[in-house]
């Protein structure tokens, strides 16, 4: 595949109470961001299993972003606290396994941060384009 | 302590007596001066800042690099130098891309901007490092009974976020007033204290309009305080207020003349410097005030 033809495939796990709302708000305010962003709605960032992230990567997603509520704002009190611990430990494992750290990202985006949602997604898409296609699944890794 | 003395253009060429005042007053208060050999223009607003953002910062950064290499802060008596250098540093520290661009340029002359040295405005520097009390105790002559009007100068006030001595309420600056009080003078508030003097780009572009600002300012000073002396914190304000009065008198817009000195000149005087060396280039008649301060009035 020529690089010029390649557009990233990005999976975003969005907490129903903040980042998912933030994405809705971004849309209703018509803030643009790349269509490479694909959202999967989850009730809480604390419901995201490490397997989801790795499985997306293994399937060839070029970037995975977890979007949760700002610390202290979790709809379920502390689901995002669990999410950040898992994410950070997973990130250590992934980098140890040779996955570029920039391919996975955790962001706190609230329901009122429509603009920020669009900005973060645009930036993430740009960052992923910079590091190029995900080699996993393309070189017989799994 | 030791600092680099950033002389700038106006002080060096227009008012070297002010330069001499700094070279007298700071060492007298125990501050050793380093010449930062090879320093240049800050560069001032109407030049590179108006042409090329990176070029502006690169020239400023070169001056900073000279100080950084010696591990010194820089002190200046010129508001424009203070403003231009402080702002370029602030920009470079907050924009890594800009800093990298500047350093790419500096690399070719074997220098690097790190951001470790500060540019300090002389009056605020003394206020913080020596303090009014220590200064008061070191004086040979005092200004008791003298009323002065202060002109801190815009560039030591705004934008407050770029300066390293931001404890002042920039809309109600008190440092210069306190520093004059430390010399024994009374330095009352007047309502146009923070107004601009009209020097700089405006004077070069349209001298008549520039003098309009001085006139408004002088009127407020004369009516509200009627001081013996105007004291500035900035060499540009010094030049403007010192030279504009003759024009205004000629045009019969004012019928008075208030002597004008930079604070560092006044301080050097109080510390016993030779008046001729440190005030000798004033256009306003400062000798009466000088004599009064030194008790030479009857000589």
């Amino acid at each position: 595949m020529k690089m010029s033809e390649w557009t990233p495939n990005i999976v975003v796990f969005a907490c129903n109470w903040c980042t998912y709302q933030g994405a809705d708000l971004a849309g209703s305010l018509r803030y643009e961001y790349p269509p490479s962003i694909n959202i999967i709605r989850v009730p809480c960032s604390g419901a995201i299993e490490p397997e989801y992230i790795v499985s997306a990567l293994k399937n060839g997603a070029d970037g995975v972003l977890v979007g949760g509520c700002h610390p202290g704002d979790c709809h379920y009190k502390e689901g995002n606290h669990k999410a950040v611990r898992r994410f950070n430990l997973l990130k250590r494992v992934l980098t140890g396994m040779g996955v570029e750290a920039a391919r996975v990202r955790l962001e706190w985006i609230s329901g009122s941060e429509g603009r920020r949602f669009a900005e973060v997604m645009t930036e993430f898409d740009r960052a992923i384009k910079e590091i190029g296609p995900n080699p996993i699944g393309r070189d017989g890794n799994a | 302590m030791k600092v680099g003395f950033f002389v700038g253009c106006n002080t060096a060429f227009n008012r070297p007596d002010l330069e001499q005042a700094v070279r007298f007053a700071l060492p007298a208060l125990g501050v050793e001066l380093d010449d930062l050999e090879g320093q240049s223009c800050c560069p001032t607003w109407g030049t590179l800042p108006s042409i090329d953002l990176v070029g502006w910062c690169a020239l400023g950064a070169r001056n900073f690099a000279l100080a950084e290499e010696k591990g010194l802060d820089m002190v200046t008596v010129c508001g424009s130098c203070y403003g231009s250098l402080a702002e370029s540093k602030h920009k470079m520290l907050h924009d890594p891309e800009l800093k990298a661009g500047v350093n790419a340029m500096l690399k070719e002359i074997g220098r690097e901007f790190k951001g470790t040295s500060n540019i300090r405005q002389a009056v605020n520097f003394l206020y913080k490092e020596a303090g009014p009390e220590k200064i008061g105790a070191a004086l040979r002559y005092r200004l008791d009974g003298l009323t002065v009007a202060v002109q801190p100068g815009c560039h030591s006030l705004w934008p407050s976020e770029v300066y390293v001595d931001p404890e002042e309420d920039s809309f109600h600056p008190a440092v210069l007033r306190e520093m004059c009080a430390a010399l024994g003078a009374s330095a009352p508030y007047y309502s146009r204290l923070t107004d601009c003097c009209g020097m700089g780009g405006m004077r070069s572009t349209d001298m008549e309009r520039s003098f309009k600002l001085v006139l408004t300012k002088l009127a407020s000073i004369k009516e509200e305080i009627d001081p013996d002396l105007i004291v500035t914190g900035c060499s540009s304000c010094l030049i403007q207020l010192d030279t504009a009065q003759a024009f205004l008198q000629k045009d019969r817009l004012i019928d008075y003349e208030i002597p004008v000195l930079h604070y560092m000149q006044l301080l050097a005087l109080c510390l016993g410097a030779d008046p001729q060396q440190i005030t000798g280039l004033a256009k306003t008649n400062v000798s009466r005030v000088v004599n009064r301060i030194r008790g030479d009035e009857n000589e």
Binding site: - | V7, C9, N10, A12, F13, N14, P16, E19, Q20, L36, E37, G38, Q39, S40, C41, P43, T44, W45, G46, T47, L48, P49, S50, I51, D52, L53, V54, G55, A58, L59, R62, G83, M105, L106, E108, I109, C154, H155, W158, P159, S160, D195, C196, G198, M199, G201, M202, S204, T205, D206, R209, S210, K212, L213, D274, Q276, Q277, I278, G280, L281
Partner: protein, 190 residues
């Protein structure tokens, strides 16, 4: 109230050069579009107080409607004192002074700059000082100082460093500074 502008000209909005906005943003006036024309900056702008036709608020509005020529035909932008009081008080964090600087950069690229500015730039290149009085040596000596300050003026190697940097700026591209060997200017007072 004498300084109110008495003779407004009709401006044909359809002739506005709307790309001026992008140009300004590119040249350092990033926050331009945050301006809501509240006029707070104008309330304290020395240029407005001194009666210049254009100053922070009006420069911004002229840029917003793309009135490039109006700004280039007038010397107001060069009269800005850089006092930065507008930067301090602007409720929208527009940094109006930066926009004036950016507008100057636009003007320079169209060679719409005052002679004094050109002289100052040349002097900066020639001796390292934008403000330079050739006769100053005498007055320096008079007050007991060496003829030259410890700057680029007294240190030729340092001047060469400065010139090396300046040759990499837009000045050289614009041809404002000489590309070859320097010829020392007389005096220049900006």
């Amino acid at each position: 109230m004498s300084n109110a502008i008495a003779e407004p000209q009709v401006i044909d909005l359809s002739l506005g050069e709307l790309d001026l906005v992008d140009e300004i943003k590119e040249l350092g006036g990033e926050e331009l579009l945050e301006c809501i024309q509240c006029a707070k900056c104008a309330a304290v702008c020395p240029m407005a107080l001194a009666g210049f036709p254009f100053f922070n608020k009006r420069v911004i509005q002229a840029i917003l409607i793309g009135s490039r020529e109006t700004l280039l035909d007038d010397s107001s932008i060069w009269a800005c004192q850089s006092c930065n009081r507008c930067t301090e008080i602007c409720p929208r964090q527009v940094r109006p002074f930066e926009i004036i600087l950016a507008m100057r950069r636009v003007a320079v690229r169209e060679f719409a700059l005052p002679t004094l500015t050109t002289d100052g730039l040349k002097s900066l290149f020639d001796v390292g000082h934008a403000v330079y009085l050739k006769e100053a040596g005498k007055s320096r000596k008079k007050v007991g100082l060496p003829e030259k300050p410890p700057s680029t003026l007294a240190h030729p190697q340092a001047l060469r460093e400065l010139q090396a940097i300046m040759r990499k700026t837009a000045l050289a591209e614009l041809g404002i500074i000489p590309m070859g060997e320097a010829e020392v200017a007389g005096s220049c007072e900006v």
